[in-house]
């Protein structure tokens, strides 16, 4: 009986696996040339005066960047909509106020006309200031609209010269808008200050930082980043957890993003029907300088506050995220009310124990990524071992011995019975 049940379960599992395996093809085919969902990339190039320095493979930084751009533009994947923005390209003067507004869109984000884009790049000459902050804001504005993933590739050779607008803070604020924006930064022969600033920008948005010393390296990296943008990624849905369970947002299965301040916790609610298994995982990203030791706790509890199960993780050292997960199989309902099984509301609590020095800004909070899954059929286990089957030499010896004893007993009993029968 049990075996039959299991076989059925196995067949069901196989069917499910096959359906899952067959599913993605139509989904992929349907979602290809959709203008709203094709990824957007903006290459943001520093054209400040310092780009004149001739120290990359014997040519000027500007020439190296132009060469790299030309080769990258040739190889941009078709479904990527690409734009180019410059910073410090136009204003030659000494007025900081004007120089710090000097950022402009060289080529609009959209389907790429390679010749046009290349011509536009060819006209650039190193000129002015390095307004990174305003350029990031401008680039984020250029990438507006649609729900696709967005990427800014920032190429610069010097730190921002337009304080007090901290480009790192700007990047974090842009990322906090929940528009799936990543900033990848490339520093051309960067000094320590530039490196700190660029790696801070990258860290704040979940991007990467590269220090470039050769033309080939620049080309390969930009190419890689543009290619990466073309990869389809599931974009999370923004949500906002509440301070307690009663007012918490109800989540359906999916991927969610939220923000959580240092040592804060947030609640979410999920409805789990009997016979379903809830699977939730959470990642809290360290998008700024945090203290060395940190942790995350994900708790599932009933509406009355009784804890069901928890997942927790702690760590130390350099990290991008810290994550944990839990699963909660709800037993199938027994009895008559099978047709309308009442869903149980499970409260999910996400808390983090990140901390930072007092000088670190706490607003906006740390990015939280929450996945919620509900799969049908809770996992079940009825026996101590695999269907009660055994394994190993001890099993064989025991069975053989008990067989021998049984045989002997049987023989003796029948002999005894024969003797009794004979004597009578």
């Amino acid at each position: 009986m049990i075996t039959r049940k299991r076989l059925a379960a196995g067949v069901c599992g196989l069917l499910a696996a096959m359906t899952v395996a067959l599913l993605p093809t139509p989904a992929l085919a349907a979602g290809e040339p959709d203008a709203d969902s094709s990824p957007k990339v903006e290459l943001t190039l520093d054209v400040s005066g310092s780009m004149r320095a001739r120290d990359i493979d014997g040519q000027s930084r500007m020439a190296a960047a132009k060469q790299a751009f030309n080769e990258v533009l040739d190889a941009v994947p078709d479904d990527v909509r690409l734009g180019i923005r410059t910073l410090g390209a136009n204003y030659r003067g000494e007025d900081r106020k004007v120089g710090c507004k000097d950022t402009r869109q060289l080529y609009p984000v959209g389907p790429l006309d390679r010749t046009e884009a290349k011509t536009a790049v060819a006209t650039l000459t190193p000129t002015g200031w390095t307004p990174i902050g305003p350029a990031l804001l401008g680039a984020a504005d250029d990438l507006k609209g649609g729900d696709a993933s967005r990427r800014i590739v920032l190429i610069t050779d010097g730190e921002d010269t337009c304080a007090p607008l901290d480009p790192c803070q700007v990047a974090r604020d842009i990322a906090a808008k929940g528009i799936h924006l990543t900033v990848d930064t490339l520093g051309l022969l960067p000094d320590a200050k530039t490196r700190n600033q660029l790696s801070c920008i990258a860290e704040a948005t979940g991007g990467t930082y590269t220090s470039v010393e050769h033309t080939k390296q620049l080309r390969d990296r930009v190419h890689q980043l543009v290619d990466r943008a073309a990869h389809p990624v599931v974009t999370p849905e923004a949500t906002e957890g509440a301070a307690d369970c009663t007012g918490a947002p109800k989540l359906k299965p999916g991927l969610y993003s939220d923000r959580e301040k240092f040592a804060e916790h947030r609640w979410y609610r999920v409805d789990v029907r009997p016979g379903q298994e809830l699977r939730a995982s959470v990642s809290v990203a360290a998008d700024r300088a945090v203290n060395n030791d940190y942790g995350v706790l994900l708790r599932a509890s009933t509406v009355h506050g009784r804890e069901i199960v928890r997942g927790s993780e702690a760590g130390n050292g350099r990290t991008d995220v810290i994550s944990s997960g839990l699963r909660y199989p709800k037993a199938p309902s027994e009895g008559a009310d099978e047709d309308a099984p009442a869903a149980e509301t499970v409260c999910l609590q996400v808390s983090n124990s990140f901390s930072a020095r007092a000088s670190v800004k706490t607003d906006p909070g740390l990015p939280v990524e929450l996945t919620v899954d509900l799969v049908d059929g809770p996992s079940d286990a009825s026996d101590a071992a695999f269907f009660g089957l055994g394994h190993g030499w001890w099993l064989l010896i025991t069975l053989a011995l008990s067989g021998l004893v049984a045989g002997l007993l049987w023989g003796w009993i029948s002999r005894w019975r024969v003797t009794v029968w004979r004597t009578n």
């Binding site: 075996t3 196995g10 696996a17 991008d320 994550s323 394994h391």
Partner: protein, 274 residues
Amino acid sequence: MRTVRTLMTAVLASAGLFGMAGTALADSPSPSPSGSAGAEAAAPTEAGTSFRTATAIRPDQPATASASTGDYLYWVLPVDAGQRATVKAKVTLPQAARHGAATWQLDVYDGLRRRQACTYGAQTRAAAKDTGSVELSCTLRTVRAWAEPWANDPLPGSYYIRLTVVDLSKDDLGLPLHAEVDATTADTGGARAVDGTLAAPLVPGASTATPQDKESPAARPAAMSEPDGGWSSGWWSDRWIWTAAGGLLAALAGIYGYRLTRGSGRPSRIPPGA
């Protein structure tokens, strides 16, 4: 006497059938990952940068990636019940003059993003200023078919590999490097088999990929990949053979024991010709 014999025959026959069924079953399902389908696909030359963008790899398929020092590199591979996965990574460090030592680390997370312990292997290793490369390795616990929800035991599903530098001189940030990752899985057999199966393997987005949800234009995550031959249904293990063989042995021993009590001929106390 006749009843005994029939019983014995029945036991023997059923034991034999059982054993044969066992071996026949052993041939038909092939949850082993060493199929040919995966080997045909080209090895990935990129790595993801987060759980969501992790690059899917297959066991025994070396993956490479070029990246910058400080990047967090993610791969994901399917591991099935009864398998023990070993992940090996090699980082070719930047050739440019480096400023200090660096510590590299390989972490493995399961489909629920829970960190998984390494039973052995150098998971973290420091590289001196002038070392050319670092090799890391991590062997997971054997994946079980089922575990209590409160346990952190490895379960069938996706496994994320994260490779990164955890400690370095800040001046070395962003230098180019090359990473190689190779995962292998070994079947442990029925010794580790447990009862029960999960409703679905621990694969992220298992339910979000179903059609009743709103059509998401972005494709499903790469982490959805499954082992060659699909996930095992969890009802085969070599325990069937062991138990069947034990039953057979018991039957034979029973016959032998019965024969012992019979002696070799007529009982000695019965006078000849009686």
